[in-house]
């Protein structure tokens, strides 16, 4: 049993998804979703501890030995990302129960959980697999279910934003397939470890460079790097609250992981940085994303959209860490994957609580809400502080490593820009806090605190935000180890 954990990681949620359709009952489907997502979390934690104690796990799917068969390959990098995805998955699933009953029609609830589990298994699959074509298959499983999840939003604009995401996402995925096909034509292999051995022999070929270009554009569309982020703000704004919380904390993180895995493990850091100048391409895009999107976020009146633009800026931080092309920079990227998932998950969940009680997430509708819904708004403030990067929160830890990485390269203007962008984050978080705490409450007198079924997952993420902000040694240690694995490549 235990040796099959890598397969079970994906198979458990994948099989639970169709079961949700068969039970046809919202509560029963929810029970299945919670069970599947918590077992996924358990499995990912076991995998992480096993990888840390005894090294890389290679699992031959169906007993077919790699490189011919499909290999699931778990090293510290993807074990880390698996834990991120499944932690969020395990907290969003219980949160969804109350939220979904309010925001989605009863008939569609089992369908919602089926799509949710498919999306979760797709994301876990992308992360765990060691086969490049398998990445594409799981990418489409997660994307197609994500389009359906977003389209479940109450507002009709959810439909058009899902459609736009579908068009952008399919173009991105097709670019990725083209890249994979060109790589296959040069090497005759689809196994990541095998490709890493074979590619240095054909580095000079134009086909490999073109493949690299196609993959880069495809990944950047998927991770919403400026200027390919246009699908993201609407999709996050109009999706149902639990979907936004889930997608914002996992989908783009997994896309960043794909980028790191392909460009650092498969192609190798030397090829990416020395031949293809990946760092010099990503650096300006990341900086523009951080500054311009933080600025746009300041002027939003819908808090979900504000947080969506802030997400694009935060993705900029992750890409910025990569563009330093150093172990410290990459540590910052990997830490921020985890930390941003915690903070954005908490913030979007808090907005889901607000949506549940007052039916709106516009800033002016939240006047005086700090006294009416103290626990919800306190969670928002804690998540917001983390977003700004205040000490004792996880946000501070990622910013610390990011600035350390910038100074290590001697790029002090970059460090200054990161600090300025943090101040801009303070401005947009403060706009919400000011309205919620320093204005008179004008809404419905019966407005009460959100139900505890919504509050405990939100606060679980807030507590993780603070815990890993204070005890950052463990997460930073794993991230540093993972960064070293990525930088040295698979061959050594």
């Amino acid at each position: 049993m235990a040796e099959h954990y890598p397969a079970l990681q994906v198979v458990v949620p994948l099989l639970a998804a169709p079961l949700c359709l068969f039970v046809r009952n919202g509560r029963a489907a929810w029970g299945l979703a919670v069970l599947a997502s918590w077992s996924a979390l358990g499995i990912s934690l076991v995998l992480l501890s096993r990888v840390m104690s005894s090294g890389v796990i290679s699992y031959a799917l169906g007993g077919w030995a790699p490189p011919i068969g499909i290999e699931y390959r778990v090293d510290i990098v993807n074990a880390w990302v698996l834990v991120i995805v499944s932690t969020i998955g395990a907290l969003v699933a219980p949160y969804a129960l109350t939220s979904v009953e309010r925001e989605i029609g009863a008939r569609r609830i089992p369908l919602f959980y089926a799509a949710y589990l498919l999306c979760l298994s797709g994301l876990l699959g992308i992360t765990i697999t060691g086969d490049v074509f398998n990445v594409f298959v799981f990418l489409e499983i997660s994307s197609l279910s994500a389009y359906a999840l977003i389209a479940l939003g109450q507002d009709r604009r959810a439909l058009t934003s899902a459609f736009r995401y579908l068009v952008a996402g399919s173009v991105g995925a097709t670019f990725i397939v083209i890249g994979i096909g060109l790589l296959y034509s040069m090497t005759g292999s689809l196994n990541m470890a095998d490709l890493a051995q074979l590619l240095p022999g054909v580095w000079e070929s134009r086909t490999v460079k073109v493949a690299y270009g196609f993959l880069a554009v495809g990944f950047c569309l998927k991770l919403a790097l400026f200027p390919l982020h246009l699908w993201l703000p609407n999709a996050y704004t109009y999706a149902p609250s639990p979907v936004t919380a889930f997608m914002a904390s996992t989908a783009t993180k997994v896309a960043v992981y794909m980028l790191l895995r392909f460009f650092l493990t498969v192609f190798g850091a030397a090829f990416s940085f020395d031949v293809m100048a990946l760092d010099r391409v990503l650096l300006p895009l990341a900086l523009v994303a951080i500054v311009s999107m933080s600025l746009v976020a300041i002027f939003q009146v819908n808090v979900k959209r504000l947080l969506a633009y802030s997400s694009v800026a935060q993705i900029g931080y992750m890409v910025l860490g990569l563009s330093f092309a150093t172990v410290t920079g990459l540590t910052a990227t990997l830490l921020h994957l985890f930390n941003h998932a915690l903070m954005k998950g908490a913030l979007f969940m808090a907005m889901g609580c607000v949506m549940y009680r007052i039916g709106s997430v516009r800033i002016e509708a939240m006047a005086g809400l700090g006294r009416r819904m103290p626990a919800t708004m306190a969670a928002f403030v804690a998540g917001g502080l983390s977003l700004v990067g205040v000490p004792l929160t996880v946000g501070f830890v990622s910013k610390w490593y990011l600035i350390l990485g910038a100074l290590e390269r001697g790029w002090w203007p970059v460090a200054v820009l990161v600090l300025i962008a943090s101040l801009m984050a303070l401005v947009y978080v403060w706009r919400v806090v000011e309205v919620a705490y320093f204005r008179e409450f004008t809404g419905d007198e019966r407005t009460r605190e959100a139900p505890w079924t919504l509050l405990w997952p939100t606060w679980a993420l807030v507590v993780l935000n603070l815990y890993f902000g204070i005890d950052a040694g463990r997460t930073a240690g794993i991230a540093r180890q993972a960064a070293e694995v990525l930088m040295t490549g698979i061959g050594q």
Partner: protein
């Protein structure tokens, strides 16, 4: 030499042509159904890219029969075909989700033209929110 490149690699030129046609339709057309068709053409070009990668000049079909079973027989690579079977299924799934969304959009907005939808959305979006 240039003509030679054109003629011997004509399959790749077909692929590039289809890819550009599909991508152009996707970007330039305002009708959501036409966008889906463009996306389909775009994806189909990739199917053809993969399939022509697997074809080897003078290669036999990759089937073991008497007289063709020897190791030194040159045969076409079946793997890209198998991969593209998966991609075709994915393409159908994408198309059907896209069309289903188009139906729902038509129900909700009464139109499938992108600029009309944008107009309706701008009408219901209060000033200041249309930042995206």
């Amino acid at each position: 030499m240039t003509l030679d490149l054109l003629l011997t690699h004509y399959n790749y030129w077909v692929v590039i042509f289809l890819m550009m046609v599909g991508f152009y339709i996707l970007i330039s057309r305002g009708n959501l159904i036409k966008k889906i068709v463009g996306l389909n053409v775009f994806q189909t070009s990739v199917f053809m890219l993969y399939i022509s990668l697997g074809k080897i000049t003078e290669g036999t079909p990759p089937i073991l029969v008497d007289g063709y079973g020897d190791a030194d027989v040159v045969y076409s690579n079946p793997l890209p075909h198998v991969l593209i079977l998966t991609a075709i299924v994915v393409g159908i799934a994408t198309t059907s989700v896209g069309l289903a969304l188009a139906v729902r959009i038509k129900e909700a907005y009464g139109t499938l033209e992108e600029d009309e939808i944008t107009g309706i959305e701008a009408g219901i979006e209060p000033a200041g929110e249309a930042g995206g």
